[in-house]
Symmetry: C2
Subunit: 383 residues, 2 copies
C-alpha cells in the first residue's frame, strides 16, 4: 500500500518563528480549528448553504457580490484549506499525462528515470491521474516522431519529455502550446520554449564543477576532455559541459601552475572503436595527467586505462551506472558526477501534477544538485 505523500502541499513555508514562542500549545489550537473549519462551518457562519460556499470557492457564477465577499472574508478569517482527500474523492475528475523518454535498453540512466516516473505515478494515481509512457529509440529518430504524433492525438492534460532530438522536440512543444497542454522538459533543455519547467542538470555548471575537482587534485599538468557521442543532438549538451570545464580552467590558470586542455571527440560508440580512438590519441599524447569524460561513457575510458595500466592521475565522468561504480570502487575512476535521473523523472511527473491538479506554482527551472560521488560515499546515493 503506497501513499500519495509528497503529492500535494509542496509549499516550503518556513514560518517557524511562532513555534519558538509556543512550542506546546500549538496543538490544541489546531485541533480546535480542525474541528470547525470546512465548508460546513463557513456556510454556517455566512448563513448560506454549502452549495453557495462551494460556488465561491470554485469561482463559479451564481453568487451575488455581497454574498461572495462575505464568504471570502470568512475563508480568509478561518484560513480555510480544502480537504484534498474529500475534494478529489468527490470530484470524478481525472487527468491524463504522458511521458516521452528514451528506452532504457542502452543505459540504466533512463531506467532510473523511468523508476522515478513510476514512483511518482504510484503516489498520484489515487487522485485520478492516468499516465501513458512512450519510450522511443535513441538510435531511431522516427520512433520519436511517431510517438509525438500519437501523443498529439491522445489529448493529454500534460506531457513530460526528454528532448533528445532538439528540432523535433521544439516543434512538439509548439504543438502542445497551441493546444494549451503544459509540457515539462527533463534531462536537457530546449531554449526559448515556454515549458512549464525544466528539470535536469545545470550542464555548464557541472562541467565547471568537474574543473574544480581536477584542479584540486592536479595542480598543474594536462587534461583531456573526452566527448563520446553518436547523436549530434546529444553532442550539443556535452559541449555545454565542456564550456564550463574550460571556463573553470581559464579562470583559475596561473603562469606558475598552468593546466592545459586537450580534447577528443569520438562518434563511434562501439566499445572497440572507443578503445581504438583512445589508443591512437594517447600514443601521440603521452603526457595526459587527467581525463574528463563528459557523459556516462566514462566506463569505456576507465576500461582502457585499466587494461593498458596507463599511469594517470585523475579520471572524472558522469552518472552512477553499475559499470561506472565498479571502476569507482577499484580506483580507476576518481569522481562521478551524479545527475539524479530518478529524481528528474519523479519531479517531472510531480510538477505536472502540482500544476494541473493542485494548481500550485512551479519554479521555471529545477536544477538537480551536482552530486560529487566517490568510492567513499557512493553507497549512500541512489541513481
Amino acid at each position: 500500500m503506497r501513499l500519495p505523500l509528497q503529492a500535494l502541499f509542496a509549499n516550503f513555508g518556513n514560518s517557524t518563528n511562532q513555534l519558538f514562542l509556543t512550542p506546546i500549545m500549538s496543538l490544541r489550537n489546531e485541533q480546535m480549528a480542525g474541528r470547525l473549519s470546512g465548508v460546513k462551518e463557513i456556510a454556517r457562519r455566512a448563513n448560506v448553504s454549502i452549495a453557495t460556499v462551494d460556488r465561491v470557492i470554485h469561482n463559479r457564477k451564481g453568487v451575488s457580490e455581497t454574498t461572495r465577499q462575505k464568504i471570502n472574508e470568512i475563508i480568509q478569517e478561518i484560513g480555510f484549506q480544502p480537504n484534498i482527500l474529500a475534494s478529489r474523492l468527490a470530484s470524478k475528475k481525472t487527468n491524463r499525462f504522458a511521458v516521452l523518454i528514451p528506452d532504457a535498453r542502452e543505459t540504466d540512466y533512463w531506467k532510473a528515470s523511468l523508476d522515478g516516473i513510476e514512483r511518482a505515478y504510484q503516489e498520484i494515481k489515487q487522485y485520478g491521474v492516468f499516465l501513458d509512457r512512450y519510450l522511443f529509440d535513441l538510435n531511431d529518430k522516427s520512433t520519436f516522431v511517431k510517438y509525438v504524433n500519437d501523443m498529439l492525438k491522445g489529448s493529454y492534460d500534460g506531457v513530460v519529455m526528454a528532448p533528445s532530438f532538439i528540432e523535433e522536440a521544439a516543434s512538439f512543444a509548439s504543438a502542445c502550446a497551441d493546444r494549451q497542454i503544459p509540457y515539462v522538459f527533463i534531462n536537457s533543455d530546449v531554449p526559448n520554449r515556454d515549458s512549464l519547467t525544466y528539470i535536469g542538470p545545470h550542464l555548464y555548471q557541472s562541467g565547471y564543477q568537474a574543473g574544480q575537482l581536477i584542479r584540486f587534485g592536479l595542480k598543474q599538468g594536462k587534461v583531456l576532455i573526452v566527448n563520446i557521442s553518436k547523436e549530434i543532438d546529444a553532442y550539443h549538451h556535452l559541449l555545454r559541459k565542456e564550456e564550463g570545464f574550460r571556463q573553470y580552467m581559464e579562470n583559475t590558470n596561473t603562469p606558475e601552475a598552468p593546466i592545459r586542455v586537450e580534447k577528443i571527440d569520438i562518434t563511434n560508440t562501439t566499445d572497440e572503436a572507443i578503445q581504438d580512438a583512445l589508443d591512437t590519441f594517447l600514443k601521440e599524447h603521452t603526457d595526459i595527467d587527467a581525463f574528463f569524460v563528459t557523459n556516462s561513457r566514462v566506463k569505456s575510458v576507465a576500461k582502457y586505462l585499466r587494461n593498458t595500466a596507463r599511469q594517470h592521475r585523475i579520471l572524472i565522468g558522469y552518472d552512477l551506472s553499475e559499470e561506472n561504480i565498479e571502476y569507482l570502487k577499484d580506483g580507476t575512476i576518481d569522481f562521478l558526477i551524479g545527475q539524479k535521473p530518478e529524481e528528474q523523472g519523479y519531479l517531472g511527473v510531480m510538477s505536472l501534477f502540482q500544476h494541473v491538479v493542485a494548481d500550485k506554482k512551479i519554479a521555471k527551472e529545477q536544477y538537480m544538485p551536482i552530486d560529487i560521488i566517490t568510492k567513499e560515499n557512493f553507497e549512500f546515493y541512489k541513481n
Copy 2:
C-alpha cells in the same frame, strides 16, 4: 515501445452483470477512475455485503472462515488496494506525533530540520495527524528532561527525537518502548536502542570521506583535526567522524607520501576562545597544511584563517550554514560536507507516519547521502 495502460484493467472488463443495471456514464466513470476494484466490486463478486468485505480487510471477527478465504482470494486476484483518501476520510481516527529537537536559535542546522518537519506535517495533516513540537535548549539539559516528561504524559502515537543528551534520551527511549510507542532517532544514534529507525549521517563514513578529499588535494603533509564542542554528548559524535578520518589516512599512507595527523579539542565555544585556542596551537605548529573541522563550527576556523591570512592548503568542515557558505564562496573553505538536516526532519516524521498510519515496513537505518559541497555546486543544494 508504448506501454498500454489499459492492459492493467483488461481483467475487469468482462463482468457484464452489473453493466446492464448501471447507466453508461457511471460505468464510464468507474472505468476512467479505475474503480472496478474497490470494496464494492469485491462484495459483488463474493456475493456478500460491503460490510463483510470490510471485516475481512481489517481482520475483524464475525466472518466465517469460508467467506473470509473467498474474499481474500478475490482481493488477491484483483490486487485490491484500498483508497487511502476515502479510507482516511471515513475513519475519524487521528494520530498524535511529537518531535523533540534542539531549539534553532544557535544554528540554522536545526532550523532546517524543523523546516523538514513542517514540510512533512503539511503533507500528512490532512490524514488526521497532529504534531507537537518540543524544542529544548541545547545548553540546558533540564529543558530536555522537562519536555520528555511532558511527552510521556501526552500519550502520543509516535515520537521523533534528536538524542542530544544520550543518557536521558536512552531512558526516554526505554519509557517509550514500555508504552509501545514507536520512536525515531534523527541526527545521531543511540546504540542498542530498539528505535523504529535511525535517520542521519553515517558519522564514521563521512569522516572517511573527508579523509579522501584531503588526501586528494594534499598528497602529503600535515593535517589538523579540530573538534569544537562544549557538550560532552555531542563530542562523542565528533569522535566517530575523527575515527573515520584517521582510518582513511592510515589506510592510504605510504612512506613516500605520508600525511601526519594532529588534533585539537576546543571546549569553550565562544568565538574569542576558539580564536585564542587556534592561535596558541598554530603558533607552535606552523606546518599545518590542512584542517578538518568535525562539525559546523568550521566557520570559526575559517574566520581565524582569513583574519590571520594564514597560508593553508585545505579547509574542510560540515554543514551548509549561511556563514559557512560565505567562507566557501570566498575560498577559505574548500569543502563542506552536507548532512541534509531538512531531509532528516522530513523523513523522521514521514517514517513515523508510514509506520503508524500506513503500516509500512521501515528500514532500520536511513543514512543520509554524504554530500560534498563546493563553491561551484552549493547553490544547487538546500540545507
